[in-house]
Symmetry: C6
Subunit: 83 residues, 6 copies
Amino acid sequence: QDSDTTGTSKQDELSLITETPEEGFEVAVQLARKGVTTTQPNKKVLFMLRDVYSKDPDALIASSHVVAVHYQTVAAANNYWHE
Amino acid sequence: QDSDTTGTSKQDELSLITETPEEGFEVAVQLARKGVTTTQPNKKVLFMLRDVYSKDPDALIASSHVVAVHYQTVAAANNYWHE
Amino acid sequence: QDSDTTGTSKQDELSLITETPEEGFEVAVQLARKGVTTTQPNKKVLFMLRDVYSKDPDALIASSHVVAVHYQTVAAANNYWHE
Amino acid sequence: QDSDTTGTSKQDELSLITETPEEGFEVAVQLARKGVTTTQPNKKVLFMLRDVYSKDPDALIASSHVVAVHYQTVAAANNYWHE
Amino acid sequence: QDSDTTGTSKQDELSLITETPEEGFEVAVQLARKGVTTTQPNKKVLFMLRDVYSKDPDALIASSHVVAVHYQTVAAANNYWHE
Amino acid sequence: QDSDTTGTSKQDELSLITETPEEGFEVAVQLARKGVTTTQPNKKVLFMLRDVYSKDPDALIASSHVVAVHYQTVAAANNYWHE
């Protein structure tokens, strides 16, 4: 999970509804990171860890897995972006 | 999983229904922690373990994964917070 | 998974339907443990293993994950305890 | 996963429909084992492996997780055994 | 995952619809293997790896888990083979 | 996850809707890789890692698992390609 923890500042309230599947994927990535930063809010620690997991295939696959679960949720929320 | 095990005291009965996706995420985090504290209720042990998993990328990703599964449940419970 | 394998004795037949989300969580924990005791019915072995996994963050997160999957099932079974 | 690979002989055709949640759990366990025996049909190897995983907390939790996914499928198939 | 990568040749187009739960399970196994051969198409490497994972309980449980996720999809696709 | 990160260039906008289950599988693989490249955009690192995970049974099974979760989403999006 990237250590970019801007996540959801007060103005851009968290929402699952997006215009496109692409934007939906970004929300899924944001939710996956939020799951990490909620447990470990310390940005310095996160930044240090990034160097480890971003070069570890198992960690990269595992984080892609978390995004996949959230994307399933976001896609259902948007009725799979059917017109 | 953070060792904050206030979780659900008798007054604030556990509920999946929330006003916003943000509050829904907090319930998902609470449920994920409840799954840990149910298996390991000893706060001292949990506090000691926090030091380990909160600096372990694999553990942070794995706990984000548990939150993602609960968030899928909570989001469905709230019909994805459609108006 | 706690080695409490009372699980479902003949009188309290297994049911997914509960009054509250809190009771639903208890059924999910019971189902997660049942998945372990079905594979390893030997209580002495389970008790011995408890000492290991109950102090292992990865195991605690993994068991919380199993509870999360069952809780998703139980919550859907109860239509998310909507009135 | 237990090495009992009677699984589904020709007479008792595989079905997801059961009378009770308890029977549904047995089908889920059967499906989880079938996923192992399909990949490793050699009973001698399976029996040897049983000695390993049946005393390994991580493996016991992981197999409970597979049962949980199948149980979610079987429960939905039976409309959660609502009367 | 077995290194049998016949999977879907041009004639037998991939389909999720099957007559029976048993056939549905075969499609789920096929999809799980397809997920491996898509990432690693080299049959020699796959054959070599088979010797490793087919005797590793964790790998056997993990592959049973992938089959379980696909089986959930195939079962829903066939409305759980209700008559 | 293959290091082919063509993924979605601006012209072929990401969409979950496909003609066939086979094409749906390709989208699922694309989404699984996108989950990796979003976290690790550096192609050189990805290429280096491919040598590692493409010969590791656990990593191959884990990536097949991510594809399975996305395929469940894509299949639901296409109503399981029922005519």
